[in-house]
Symmetry: C3
Subunit: 268 residues, 3 copies
């Protein structure tokens, strides 16, 4: 167990400098908070998902993120077009398979998206475990399992699909199939604010866009930025309502030096 | 006029203990705040509405809520599938007929949904009066009438459809056709925050899910939780913007004993 | 360069007195914040966009606003129906051509909407310049140009389409093709909060609804209300997260006299 050999603060500075255009195909609950998270962190979100333009837009975006939270049949073609275009243009894309185990419709669409080989897969423990074929205690969109319980599932998926897998929870776990890291921090209020995980998926896209050759490091930096900002907001929040504006303020205020000093990342 | 014979605090504790999965088919304005209200109060929201999965999901959810605020033709099949599945599985479901009187499209869809006999109908005074065939002063989605003016309409509808009817406003009125109750509290800022009524419909679903045999009491408890939390937030808010985070904090912080002490419910 | 010959405070008082019903066809990111902006300012928002009812509703609304931010093919018919119905009923309507230059789909739909001759066109500098055929530095939905750089484009469009053109940015520019005005104020945090421009489009609709004979003055008043409220919120905000509730509070608290005293409008 060691400290990371790269600087999250430098990745944050590079992301802010690039101000990457991130095409977020996300759910209707997450749209507003995801865009605000990206703006606060220093990226440029664009919620472009229609079949008629999702592929065309993916070619000008720095990264694409796809989230099936409020899946509907008319949205699938745009997701597939964006993923295919990202693959064709060599752009990273991130998949968030929200509650994919809950219905046949979700399982089918997530299967089609996984077949396109996302650069990064981000989910909660129940989602990652279910995707690897393990039993889970997930209920609806909420995980009933801890991220650390999903380590083996994450490794299995990373190797099977050749992607980065990020499992988020009390402690986060990230792996590329050989290297792994855990990230500590955050706040117990975060699961009480809707769609923060979905917003984090978009933020992973922002870091992947500005550091496309290092998706493992980019993913760790995004998760660590959430963890440190969540910790900062936690100290002042009086509940889940006041947490949200404080969290956005913290994302915006965090500088690179303090980020490096506060990030609690362990390489495994 | 008497105090209620049941404890709202006990219903709140039971709801938090159950952490019920509530399937919210709600409008695009309300999605985020409704999910945050449920999380703050202690329930587990899932915004699942597509035709392909709404019925399947309703069988695993504890309750379903349906709101026509941003109605579109592609959304109707999912609403009907979820209501039918809830009926088939003996799960309570709640209908929020937003501005149903405003257009022919809304009147038609609300007619189809009412024919499926919701467990609970929640609306503002103009919506409830219009549904009972009375003249109203509603404009768009905002009520032009007081909840107390809708008492007769609520009684008529409760008896006609065999459902609980909740009319919310300055003072709320709830009836099952024989028993009735009024709930006081809240804040004049609440109508200045969009979609709080829609979020309340989802919260009624949370209480109905954890107390399915007592939908009348569950509805009263949900409305009283909103009223006490609204009052708590009102004391600190400087306007409609600061009210919203304070309200979520108040929903989360309210304990059962204080809830019982502060709820102003009168049985009639 | 002179002060305006009309009182913004009087237009604000008239808007609040009328509490106009504004039909907002806006994007999924903006829905919640746009409705909250209108409620805080004193108008009555209704997010009604479906093909089946958009035209019918436009006839009872005071104004219509149309925004293509999260454009999809199924939404176009409702936009066209609402614009046509507004034209037929002599109601003002406002177009917000979000990132229309980014894809062929957007260019085509914006072309169809412009052919229906909106009363008011509101965009950022890159959007207005691109519509007039000028080169821009827009990236995704964010402007890469200053509003003042778009003055000629705005004049061209105002004359070509016989409409009011509003370009918003650090300094706003409004023209009807002969008269022009600039509005100063606001906060550097405003571009860091998603969809505030989209919400402003809806607020322009509110002022146009209550002052339909003076769309030039109505547009200036809406922009000035945003500028003064943004300035008020800026003094207390610690970042983009805390800015949003403070901004809504400021919109709600601003009185007509202080509005007139603080508005920084220059007629050109």
């Amino acid at each position: 167990m060691t400290n990371p050999s790269f600087s999250c603060g430098r990745l944050l500075a590079a992301m802010r400098q690039a101000n990457p255009l991130v095409q977020c195909i996300t759910n209707d609950v997450a749209m507003n908070i995801a865009a605000n998270v990206l703006l606060a962190a220093g990226a440029s979100p664009a919620m472009v998902s229609a079949e008629e333009e999702a592929g065309e837009f993916a070619r000008i975006a720095g990264a694409v993120t796809i989230n099936i939270g409020t899946l509907w049949s008319g949205g699938v073609a745009g997701m597939l077009a964006a993923a295919n275009a990202a693959n064709g243009a060599g752009k990273p894309w991130v998949l968030d398979p929200v509650a994919h185990y809950a219905t046949g419709f979700r399982r089918r669409v997530v299967g089609e998206l996984m077949a396109l080989e996302p650069t990064i897969l981000r989910g909660n423990a129940s989602e990652i475990m279910a995707m690897a074929g393990e039993a889970t205690r997930g209920q609806g969109v909420d995980s009933g399992d801890s991220a650390m319980a999903a380590q083996n599932a994450a490794l299995t998926l990373a190797r099977r699909y050749g992607c980065i897998v990020a499992v988020t929870g009390d402690v986060d776990f990230v792996t590329d199939g050989s290297r792994s890291a855990t990230i500590e921090g955050g706040s117990p209020l975060m699961p009480k604010v809707t769609a923060l995980g979905c917003a984090l998926t978009c933020l992973v896209g922002a870091f992947a866009a500005s550091t496309p050759d290092q998706p493992f490091e980019a993913t760790i930096a995004a998760l660590a930025l959430f963890a440190v900002s969540g910790q900062d907001a936690d100290g002042h929040a009086r509940g889940p309502g006041s947490f949200q504006p404080l969290f956005l303020d913290a994302l915006s205020a965090l500088g690179s030096d303090r980020f490096d000093a506060e990030a609690r990342i362990t390489m495994r």
